[in-house]
Symmetry: C2
Subunit: 422 residues, 2 copies
């Protein structure tokens, strides 16, 4: 804006010189004064920071990444710069999704894919992120506006669509498959999908897409009364939301399962209120009373859930700490339940069963690789052994990876389905 105003001053000056009649100069002066006023006003208009080519750890006030890179210096993260290689898809840019998007943007994530079909309303001002002047914009457009101002280094892709429609679901699937950002990446084009939606249908659409694409994702939610929330890690071979339903109690799932994913999406015209509170949803309510909706999400709860979600996202992507399989938050009691799910071999979802089968088939190869790794480590340990006479034959077993993402640590309740642990 300031460049445009500066050019106008020059244009006015050249016009002044072209004017034959000096009596017209006062009009030019008046216009010039207006441009000068506008220049002063424009100073309050946001100026975007320029892009930063390489992440630097230099500790100077002008470095937006200095304090994040400090995580590396302090030994928490091995290679923080890797953050720029990752793509994260956020489905639902509401009370949790928008805040998670802002956190990941400030964190310098490589690429964010944002999905929402809703518009910003004044009634959303109870929650963080959106501002009153964005009322009427689509949430995706408003988010891109704010996020690109905060960090122009992040590649933002905005999808203003409803993933529970046939067309929306197809676009969702193809956007997840698109590998142009990082062609060498294995699997899909994204590293993680974060579900931050407020209804069953959208959750099930994310679940279906991730099962089909073998895509790891995280679920999140805040209860309708805004006093509790949860996050959950879902790995297709290990579990999915459909796994939660055993055939004898889950009529709702029969309705979904009797259709393939496209039809299920089409079938979403069913009155959502009956799904939310009806008796068919008992199993969901039993499993997790936060699973209902989050229409009334309140700022503080949304902030906590988004923070827990993003912190677990960072741990997952940058390979540090323990990634919670499930973490709840009851704000009335400041109680944080954890639990883990085992896959349900009788899951009603075909794609989930396919992923389970692939995992089982690959087990011998995986075990062999793990054994080879252990042997190599044991050999290396023998070479630099402290006690040559290892009479008890003690060897080092690397179980940290299993512990990081599996809920089998002490104190965590493991759910078995149909009595069959997997």
């Amino acid at each position: 804006m300031e460049v445009e105003l500066k050019d106008m001053i020059e244009d006015l000056e050249s016009l002044r010189q072209s004017l034959p009649d000096p009596s017209l100069h006062s009009s030019i002066d008046k216009l010039r004064l207006r441009v000068e006023n506008l220049t002063n006003m424009a100073k309050s208009v946001p100026v975007r920071r320029s892009k930063v080519k390489d992440m630097s750890a230099e500790v100077v006030d002008s470095n937006p990444y200095s304090r994040l890179m400090a995580l590396q210096r302090m030994g928490i993260v091995k290679n923080y710069e890797r953050i720029r290689e990752f793509s994260v898809a956020i489905v639902g840019v509401g009370g949790v999704g928008s805040v998670a998007a802002e956190m990941l943007t400030r964190c310098g994530i490589g690429r964010l894919l944002l999905y929402d079909y809703d518009k910003v309303e004044l009634a959303n001002m109870n929650r963080l992120f959106f501002r009153p002047e964005q009322v009427g914009m689509t949430k995706t457009d408003a988010a891109v506006q704010t996020l690109s101002d905060i960090n122009p280094d992040v590649v933002l892709e905005s999808y203003t669509l409803n993933i529970t429609t046939v067309q929306g679901f197809d676009t969702f699937m193809s956007s997840l498959r698109n590998k142009s950002f990082c062609p060498s990446k294995e699997g899909t084009g994204v590293d993680l999908v974060l579900s931050c939606v407020d209804n069953y249908e959208a959750r099930m659409a994310v679940n279906q897409a991730c099962n089909e694409l073998n895509q790891t994702w995280m679920e999140s939610g805040v209860s309708e009364d805004a006093v509790s929330g949860h996050i959950q890690l879902l790995i297709p071979w290990r579990n999915c939301l459909f796994c939660l339903c055993t055939s004898f109690v889950c009529v709702f799932i029969v309705y979904i399962d009797s259709l393939n994913h496209t039809s299920f999406v089409v079938a979403s015209g069913v009155d959502e209120r009956t799904l939310k509170r009806g008796s068919l949803c008992r199993i969901f309510t039993y499993y997790n009373d936060n699973f209902i909706t989050k229409k009334y999400t309140q700022h503080a709860i949304g902030g906590v859930v988004a923070g827990l979600l993003v912190q677990n996202t960072l741990k997952f992507l940058l390979n540090f700490g323990y990634v919670s399989p499930y973490l709840g938050y009851n704000s009335l009691k400041d109680y944080f339940p954890t639990m883990a799910m085992k896959p349900n071999p009788q899951c009603s979802n075909a794609a989930c069963l396919e992923r389970q089968e692939e995992y089982t088939l690959a087990k011998p190869a995986r075990d062999a690789a793990a054994k080879a790794k252990m042997e190599a480590e044991a050999l290396s340990a023998t070479e630099c052994q402290l006690h040559a006479d290892n009479e008890w034959n003690i060897s080092i077993v690397d179980d940290s990876e299993q512990d990081r993402m599996d809920g089998t640590s002490a104190g965590i309740l493991v759910f078995y389905f149909a009595g069959i642990p997997f």
Copy 2:
């Protein structure tokens, strides 16, 4: 800005008509095009929402309070509108304080008092709230700019000062005493002080002020390595940070205790680095490893801690749920330790001992009032009794209030000092 631009179009048109030579019209066209471009750009300049006189529960998209008032409809909060009567002081507008301020602003808090002496830097962009275009502004000015745009109904008071200087501390004390916002309020002029600072001296200054004013406050912090944080409720008669130090281990406290509060503040010229990491701080480090500093606060952790802090603030102010005496967050393990402190009758702080004595002296009157309340309730229970033959003499005891703010519930570790429970 848009009015100015519209006037410019008119000026250009009248200039065009005054021009004798039509060859100059192209210059006018060029200028007009520039003005039109500027008009489009100006549309992205923030427009503030107007004030809302009364909080309404009406469920319409244009009501910024509809979803907060829903908390009342759902029975979580008895009278949400009371939020407008409360004043909260936030000391430190950094990674936690700024987010807490935004949450309370969106929540419609009556009045916020903000204290900070620092300026916004690009290096702060790892955390939520501040935007790159605010670099160079004081944090208090930048916060007031953003918060008043989000919710013009909140009364904002900005104090750009360092509370650990003599003058800063005096202004801090007098601002807390000022009751002009709600003259009928008992005690000080604020309902709660939130400490969101990143150093010992400021924490001790808040502690000292609150002890002297008998002001309930909450402490918060994030560890230097940005992987853990905590919040804590401090009620002067019950405990203070000085209470944590027993005389035989805490040389640091002797340094503070041998001076009155003003001198202690003056004495803050001591190199802070020695306080942060020196051996004198062992007792603090032992008590709480988050107590060091939060210079490297990262967005997600700051968001979680701010969310927990604000949720506990809302529970405290609006009288619902359980207010945690201490709640920690270890993000590497998703572990949330809780504990409670008992007051230390050998506390090294004179103001703390005065508050403890007042509390002890008022005990007989408090017990008598509690007994009268119980008797009244027992009488009322007898009047509508179900079992006239109460042979075991069972009576109803109201312990909910004690449970709400005291850490004596099951599962919470209670700390005793010098072996003497209070």
